[in-house]
Symmetry: C2
Subunit: 633 residues, 2 copies
């Protein structure tokens, strides 16, 4: 073991250290290490078997409340999921479908009786289930689902129907082979009136695996990865279920056949129903980072042992020593830490909301969950591909694990919300925030003209404001290029970028709203790239603040010193990645911009001295690496 690895791992685990350590041991390799050469059929069976084992060791009950689970905080289930994802992603996703999505729908949308009826079977895997939201033709546009859930007064039942081929439920995990029950989302129709999207439990398959009458189940077959997840389609031909199957927290049909909802406004009801997705999004983002951590661990180990060519003196050179290789691996390792701290904080944020937070905190959770899911899954894809290439021919052989990881993680950019759609969701939340803090936009313009908009009124810091202010003040005392390594300067840069992008976007959007309705689509559409840029700028700042908090919670010592350097590398790589934006706005000059590059190269080189510590700190159990090149000799 390396000297500072354990301390780094503890810091990165943060407040979830105990639960994470528990599962690093409890999830034995026979549960989480999947052979690379399985066929699809073998992989599906393996994942199902492992899912039962997850139940047996108590994984499935972590954080499940109300006596169904272990009654720990629900956020612990997210932390446990993050650990599971360091093992196999098929198993992770299949467990996410079963406990997170299917079970989550029942826990979040059902009443006590419904929970009593279904949750035990969900958690002990007696009843494998599906989460039937996505339709083939609708994709991200969940509000337009076409599946109907129609109340039939005569029979006091609901009828589930798929009106056309495009309305089939698609990509549904557990649908192709193992699912018996499904939580199906569709338009609730009562007495001819459309009450919008609701969720209902529908049996789809008997215990011998045959589709029930009126249910057509399809198999998507081979995919780009996640071979162990049996994704399929579900279609209903006027299938009847008892009235009591409607998960009725936000909408119910009473004994007299009348619809009631605690939320009057249909739009608000829809968003409240959908807000139950948030745990899934947080979990998926963290899982993608876990996969990238495993890839980075494999690639870094390879880089430390592989030699290529030799020095002018004849000595062999490990590929880790090459500047171009450091450029590939080191900023990615720093980013892994940054996301780790941001994920911890988001998980805590989730718990705060569960424990009863104000509306603003709840709204922010939605937006940050979407944003952190999008940035982590994008990064995981890029990083795993980089790791594959950094291992050359070895990287392409399945036995070394990287191609499976990349194939599995790929779809994380799409499911639980397409990244491009999620960035827009974040962007719109920022705009709303902007608009509410500047009710009168014309006043803002006046303020701009008088150049008085210099404060941070648009930025809601997540770190204690006094901490950031102190850092900024400290930075102002630095001279010359020293300032680049001052945390306050780094924060200021990212705050400035976010603020300016959101502000400019707000102005453009205001103009669009003044257009005639038929021209507004084009107007909004012309701002789409801008909207996405705003979301990304926001997430960069949020992630840096989380890193700062993570460091402040780490005891002084060598591990903390390494974190400080990793944070510099993260922050400066991020600022450098957007240096064109800063240069365009004269925020720094060309000379400083070039200094940024030099410092990033220097930090990347210096940190290679501790690459073993840094990799070990990522917390991927040695026995889970499932990679021949990563085995120690």
């Amino acid at each position: 073991m390396s000297m500072h690895g354990p301390a780094l791992r503890n810091a990165l685990d943060g407040e979830y250290h105990q639960i994470k350590q528990h599962f690093r041991t409890a999830l034995t390799p026979d549960i989480v290490v999947r052979p690379h050469d399985q066929t699809m059929a073998e992989a599906r069976q393996w994942a199902l078997d492992s899912l039962y084992k997850l139940s047996e060791i108590g994984y499935s009950k972590v954080g499940i409340p109300e006596g169904f689970g272990d009654d720990q905080p629900l956020s612990y289930s997210i932390a446990a999921f993050e650990v599971l994802a360091m093992g196999d992603l098929s198993l992770t996703v299949k467990s996410g479908v079963q406990q997170g999505l299917f079970g989550g729908a029942i826990m979040n949308l059902g009443n006590d009786e419904q929970k009593q009826k279904w949750m035990p079977g969900v958690l002990n895997m007696e009843v494998p289930g599906c989460y039937g939201m996505t339709e083939l033709g609708r994709g991200s546009d969940v509000q337009s689902l076409e599946t109907t859930i129609t109340y039939i007064p005569d029979a006091d039942e609901f009828e589930i129907h798929t009106p056309n081929e495009d309305a089939r439920k698609a990509y549904i995990g557990n649908a192709a082979e193992h699912g018996q029950l499904a939580a199906i989302f569709g338009k609730l129709m009562v007495g001819g009136e459309d009450h919008g999207v609701h969720c209902i439990i529908v049996p789809i398959r008997d215990e011998s695996g045959n589709a029930l009458a009126g249910v057509t189940l399809g198999d998507h077959g081979l995919k780009g990865g996640l071979l162990g997840v049996d994704n399929g389609t579900i279609a209903f031909d006027h299938v009847r279920v008892p009235r009591g199957n409607l998960l009725n927290r936000y909408g119910t049909v009473d004994d007299d056949g009348n619809y009631h909802s605690p939320i009057e406004h249909p739009g608000k009801r829809f968003y409240t129903t959908l807000s139950t997705l948030v745990r899934g999004r947080i979990s998926v983002g963290g899982a993608a980072s876990s996969a990238a951590r495993r890839g980075l661990t494999i690639a870094a180990r390879h880089a430390l042992s592989r030699t290529q060519f030799s020095k002018t003196t004849g000595e062999p050179v490990t590929i880790m020593e090459y500047q171009a290789h450091q450029k590939k691996l080191m900023p990615a390792l720093a980013q892994a830490y940054a996301f780790g701290f941001a994920q911890n904080r988001l998980t805590r944020h989730f718990q705060e909301v569960r424990d009863g937070a104000d509306e603003k905190t709840t709204r922010e959770l939605e937006s940050r969950a979407a944003g952190l899911k999008a940035v982590q899954t994008r990064w995981a894809n890029d990083t795993l591909q980089m790791c594959r290439e950094a291992c050359g021919g070895y990287g392409y052989m399945s036995e070394n694990g990287l191609t499976t990881l990349r194939g599995d993680a790929d779809v994380f950019a799409t499911f639980e919300g397409d990244n491009t759609v999620l960035f827009q969701l974040v962007g719109r939340a920022l705009l709303a925030e902007f608009q509410s803090s500047w009710k009168d936009l014309d006043m803002l313009e006046a303020a701009r003209r008088s150049a008085s908009l210099v404060g941070n009124r648009l930025i809601e810091r997540t770190t204690a404001p006094s901490t950031i202010d102190r850092l900024i003040t400290l930075a102002q005392r630095k001279k010359g290029d020293e300032v680049l390594l001052a945390r306050g300067w780094q924060v200021e840069m990212l705050e400035f970028r976010e603020k300016r992008i959101v502000e400019a976007l707000g102005m453009r959007m205001r103009d669009v709203l003044k257009l005639p309705k038929e021209e507004q689509f084009e107007g909004f559409n012309a701002c789409q790239n801008h909207l996405i840029a705003a979301a990304k700028a926001h997430m960069d700042r949020i992630v840096l603040e989380a890193f700062i908090d993570g460091i402040s919670e780490t005891p002084e010592g060598p591990a903390r010193d390494l974190l400080i350097k990793l944070c510099d590398l993260y922050a400066l790589t991020t600022i450098r990645g957007h240096r064109a934006w800063f240069l365009e706005r004269g925020q720094f000059d060309g000379a400083r911009s070039r200094t940024l590059t030099a410092i990033v190269e220097r930090l990347s080189k210096e940190l290679t001295d501790n690459v073993e510590d840094i990799v070990e700190g990522l917390g991927v159990p040695e026995e889970w690496l499932n990679s021949k090149i990563a085995e120690r000799p």
Copy 2:
């Protein structure tokens, strides 16, 4: 068919239109369309069967000279390979191993007798063969191969030996199952003297598929893609072959057991031997682009038919209409055209060298082949991943073709030269050019100081200098932001960037050479990122020049007008991608930089009106798309 598609395709095919069209028809779907759900065993058999069919329809003989093939120009084989790669990449790679690498080794390194002996069997597939260069432990460092080819005077034979596990030949196509002969590279030892890397033909397997005595064959099994290629390892335990098996163009052992070579200097001999790789590199780069073209065709068709959400007026919106989607697809389509023209030009360059060009042209071919291989394979990987994500959940299902394409194309970044290594090769060639044009580097520094280095002496234009000069003069007459759409301005920007980067690199390298030997490694290593940046800047400029030539060879009309716009999009996207570099050096200001972004967005939008033409112009046969979502309703 779209209105301008055929004209665009003809323009993009360029001088290879006839041969490409021939194979678009001759390669029937039963030869090139591989089912997505094959197991590895099925895929390997399918590829072998299809390889026989390629022989039958005459594909394998295209461009093969000296009476063995059809005696067309050898460059036609590269064009035909580009077309084949629009079908299945396993088949493409397997045919590349057989005819390109194995056959190429015999044609390039063998004598007449050897060609007579082996070439017929290579081309009619009677003798499946291997190209045994890479060793597990050596990777890109071919000069350090450890396999030995030792002359045994008593027997007048060569003994092939693998001295250790790391010296096994690795990733060798055809080695795991089908190969019977192998062209093995190793150190030639004669009378105890090491004559460097030579190539020898060694039987490895009998016709029933059993490894021959002393030969150990391994199977790499599953990989990240290319399931149809049976990659494996080869090791030799003192295996004897007749003296006549040494391919002896650049080195031979005579009847008296003495070594002779027409190339005295061992280093030069090594590089001459390796220069036979150039056709492979050119082919691989083009094939990667072909794969990306197929991916883009699938993604663009999907984008035109898929609707998501609706306009303010209630109309559905195709995803092609969204700005964020245009940002993904349109610059990639422009880049596909840019690379297509660059690949045509490189192919012609190859033919010029074969027909007997001067040393400089030959040297430039090496460098451009390496560079264009690296940039095309990098781009293909990124583009195929983008296409996968742009098709959402559909994109992840194997039946839609994108995940197979991405998995197959992945390793193109590694084989035929790791991209990072190749970029350095290009960078070093630029440096050598720089040094030879400025023999006395101190004089250069003096010249710089006096600010007289304003000409283009460092840039060797590939397009007729008068054409470029005319364009630059025209550009100088443009006012304001109009200049951005002047081709001359675009060329000047890319020329300036290349020149400045190479020049600065030259200065740094000069300083490194003044260091004591033991410090030089660190010095060179600190310039590695800079070296790679130089190579990329060079390739950007070379590719733009090829696009300009391609347009000038296209008859006037709507297709040409579209090409002009696509070239603008390519050039401005490229310049925009490096705008930080230009801003750092004050080459343009922040306002102009932001205008660049606006123009790229505008061009991306405008070109969507012709996206069907543009996609059809990529020239991927409809029946080869092998993608459910790309089928026309």
